[in-house]
Subunit: 252 residues, 2 copies
DNA sequence: TATTCCGTGTAAGATTTTAACATACTTTTG
DNA sequence: CAAAAGTATGTTAAAATCTTACACGGAATA
């Protein structure tokens, strides 16, 4: 009972890296904060986590890379993104080859990915770091200039990489979406890369948390009908959903 | 002034592992607690410490506990590597273009790098993440398959990147060195990359902590006389030092 | 059945952290 | 050179978080 909960907390922390007490409270609504505090205290005693103001962080996380302008961004809509990432993770089959973009949602996907034998291409540094922890995943990162605000790479040269590589599936996320303007992002080279990806991949799954809806970014890289599956959260508006399902796009 | 104090705090924390604000206050009686808090905050940003309720603890302390294959490696000879990295960091001039490899010593170099206007090429994921924190550094990462044990990329395609890029300086580290076998590393593709780097760069600085001396790894990528500067620690044997200085290689 | 122990909840009080503003000093700029 | 902008610091009040102390119920034990 108690032990189970503690183990669950430990696992959560290993995945998320860091959690506040409030977030923990959301995960365990049936126990009080005080109990969770006591659990954290115990885990600290066991040397598995470090309690910090507001919550705790996993020791593993600390051992990874540090410094956090990027991580700050990851706090936005985190819960929705995690849920989307979990859904996406279930869609990945063993012995396939896929592309994952470099956004924050993609980073959560990386964390949630099962450690199975797949080949992953990505242009995200954070995604790569996460996936590098998993023994069975073959990983290739696209080179290029590093965009500091989202820790992803972009390069016109990426094309040459793609010439000799194949992947069945691309799972990507967009910074903005409207039915009229489609899926868009902030950078031209990123958009180019994603367009190219669309052509190379047999299927494209789009991760889109509902906060992105109605926003427009400068560069459109895919239109509504270009995708095969839309993975989103519970706040996704129903009327919009119909626009997808009408075109045989699965919304989940 | 401020920086000195911050460094002193960092050193203290590395030594003690953990300090409360009160203890810090005792060490620095002439500044207010608020200032110390701000210092801790900055160190946290830099990823060197973790703030916990009541004070802070050193990241190193946490890293000692257990760990991943890569992080484990960073614990070995950490102090020597940091000192070497600090020396190397001082050698970097503004408005230059340089290559940094993906090893652990290189990661410390990345941490120590001043935030100046330079263009850096690297094949190290951890290096890239560190450098991405610095606003003024232009950063390009080489793509390729990710080697999980040292978080660096390797790819025969890297050559195509290099065709259109130029850098004056390469600062790299070796996994092993003997006077007879030169500088060697564990992976063939990595060795190829480093050889290529040697040809592209006007100068090559080698970071080598003394624990690497006498070891031999499968692939030699540079001989003793290929380098211009050797950056090492205080345990570097004097007779070996002469072999370098005799060839006008600066040892520091 | 009474007793003890364990896990848990509640709430007050203590502690720590943050935020906001004020000041002195330095650097930049016109 | 003086004004303006920026940096480092201190002070204080308010906010957030944590700890302590005590109470309760149920399971194990005597």
């Amino acid at each position: 009972m108690k032990r189970d909960r503690i183990e669950e907390i430990a696992e959560l922390l290993d995945k998320r890296g860091k959690l506040t007490l409030e977030q923990l409270d959301d995960y365990f609504p049936h126990v009080s904060q005080m109990t969770l505090r006591r659990d954290l205290f115990q885990l600290e005693q066991e040397g598995r986590i470090i309690r910090v103001r507001g919550g705790a962080m996993s020791v593993k996380e600390v051992q990874k890379v540090s410094g956090e302008p990027y991580t700050k961004k990851t706090a936005i809509q985190m819960d929705a993104k995690i849920r989307i990432a979990q859904k996406a993770a279930h869609l990945i089959d063993e012995n396939t080859s896929l592309f994952i973009d470099g956004g924050t949602t993609a980073m959560y996907l990386a964390k949630e990915m099962p450690d199975i034998n797949v080949h992953v291409f990505t242009n995200g540094l954070a995604v790569a770091i996460e996936l590098a922890q998993k023994k069975n995943i073959h990983l290739t990162i696209l080179g290029g200039q590093v965009l500091k605000d989202n820790l992803s790479t972009a390069s016109p040269v990426a094309r040459s990489y793609f010439d000799n590589t194949n992947f069945e599936l691309a799972i990507i996320s967009a910074a903005a979406f409207t039915p009229e303007n489609g899926f868009s992002c902030a950078s031209q080279i990123e958009a180019d890369l994603l367009k190219l990806t669309r052509r190379k991949a047999k299927a494209m799954y789009m991760m889109l948390d509902s906060s992105k809806i109605g926003k427009i970014m400068p560069y459109t890289f895919a239109r509504l009908e270009d995708i095969d599956v839309l993975i989103t959260d519970d706040n996704f508006p129903n009327d919009l959903k119909d626009k997808f399902t009408n075109r045989n796009i699965v919304v989940m």
